[in-house]
Subunit: 237 residues, 2 copies
Amino acid sequence: MDFSELKSVCYGCSIRELCLPEGLTDEEVLLLDQHMLHRVPVRKGEPLYRTGDPFKSLYAVSTGFFKTSILHEDGRTQVTGFQMAGEVLGLDAISTDHHICDAIALEDSAVCEIDFNQFEQLGQLMSNLQHRFNKTLSREIVRDQGIMLLLGSMRAEERLAAFLVNLAKRFSARRQSASQLVLRMTREDIGSYLGIKLETVSRILSRFHDQQLLEVRGRHIRILQPQGLDRLLNSNI
Amino acid sequence: MDFSELKSVCYGCSIRELCLPEGLTDEEVLLLDQHMLHRVPVRKGEPLYRTGDPFKSLYAVSTGFFKTSILHEDGRTQVTGFQMAGEVLGLDAISTDHHICDAIALEDSAVCEIDFNQFEQLGQLMSNLQHRFNKTLSREIVRDQGIMLLLGSMRAEERLAAFLVNLAKRFSARRQSASQLVLRMTREDIGSYLGIKLETVSRILSRFHDQQLLEVRGRHIRILQPQGLDRLLNSNI
DNA sequence: CGATTGGTTGAGCCCATTCAACGAATGTGG
DNA sequence: CCACATTCGTTGAATGGGCTCAACCAATCG
C-alpha cells in the first residue's frame, strides 16, 4: 500500500492512543484520516465555540489547553472541565444540536475538527469506530459522575487535592512531568470547577505549601509529596 | 404486514417516546423488538446490578423507580440519580465493561433488558437507532452537567427546589400529576443526591411547608406554588 | 504612567453540619 | 396480639468550614 498520496493527521499523531483513534487498527485510522480531519488553530482567550452555536463538529484537542463552562439562565456560571491534548470537545452538544457550553482556549491551541455527520456515517461502515465512540461517550459520563462525587461529598481541601492528583495523572499520561505542573487556568476557574471560591483555593494552596505538600509559585506548582495528597483523599472516615 | 407472529414489547408501549425507541419509525421499533427485549422484574430494595458486576446489558425502566449510587474507595457513597419509566440504566458501564454503580429498586419495578452486543450490531444495521443512541448518551452527559451546576453553585434551598421541579416535570411527562408527588426515596437518599445532609433536607421541606410553597406529609408532597419554586431558582444574583 | 487583572491574606459572619433527643411507622418473633 | 427493635423523619442547640467583604501586592498592558 502506498501511503504517499494520503492525508495522515491521526496516523502519525503522538497522542493517537489518548484520542478518538484509540483502539483502531492502522487501516482504520487511515480511513478516519481520509474522511474528515483537519486542524484548526485557536488563540489564547478565544472561544472554540459558544453556548447556542449550532453543533456541526466534534473537536479533539491537538495541542494546548481548554476550559468549558456552562451559564445558567440567572447568570450563574460554572466551569465543567479542562481539556488537554487528546480529549474531545463537544460531546454534550450531540443531544441538542446546539452547544450548551462555552469552550475557551487557555493558551494558544489547535484542535482537530471532525464533522459529526460524516463521523456517524463512518461509524456505520466501521463498527469498531462506533464501538469505541460509545465507550468515549460513556467515559465522559463516568468522568462527570466523578465530579459529582467530588462536589457532593468532599471538603474543599480534598477537592483541591483530587484536582491536583487528576491533573498530574493526565500530564503524566502525556509524558509530561507529574510533579511540575503549570496551571493554565486562574484561581477563579479552579474554584468554579470545584464549587468553591477563589479565595478558598488560594488559602488552601498556601496551606498545602506550608505543610510542604506543594511548592506554589503562582501558577507553577511542584508536588512534593504525592502520597500526602493521596492520603488526604483516601483517609476520609 | 402481519404482526401477529411478532414480539412487540416496545411497539405498543405507552412510554415509547420517552425511552430508547424515541424517534424510530414503527418498522424500526418492530425490528428492535424482534432482536432483543425482554422484561425482568425487580423487587423493592433489590439491586438490578451492583458495582463491579460485568456489563452485559442496558436496562430501560418499564415500571417502578430506581436509584443509582457510586461508592468511593474510602467508603464514601453518593446517589447519582433516580430513574423512572423510560429512563435507561447502565450507560456508564459501557466504558469499562463493568458496572461502576449500584442500581437499586425503590419500589417493585420491571425493566426491559437489552443485550448490548446485540444492540450495537443492530445499530450497525439501523443508522437511525445508532444516531438516536448517540443522542441518548449525550443527553446523559448534559444531565450530569446540570447536576454539577447544582452541586457546585446552589445553596441547599435552591438544590431542593430544583430537585422538586425536576421531579414534577418528569412525572408530568409521564402523564402523572405534576403537583402531587409521592417520593419513593428517603430523606437520606435525597440529601446524598443533592450533596446535603438529611437533616437539612428535612428542615428545608419544613420551611417550604411553612412558607406554603408545599404541603409535606412524609413522602407525600403537594406543590402549592410551582412559581414560588421557580422563583427560588432563577432569582439568584 | 495609570488601569486592569490575578493572587494573597485577614476579620467577621452565616449556612449547613454535627450531635442529640424524640416521635411515628413498620416489621418481627414469641 | 403485644413487646421490641429498627428504620425513617423532625426539630433543637452549638459548632465550624467556607463565604463575604476588604485591603493590599505583583504583573501585565495600552
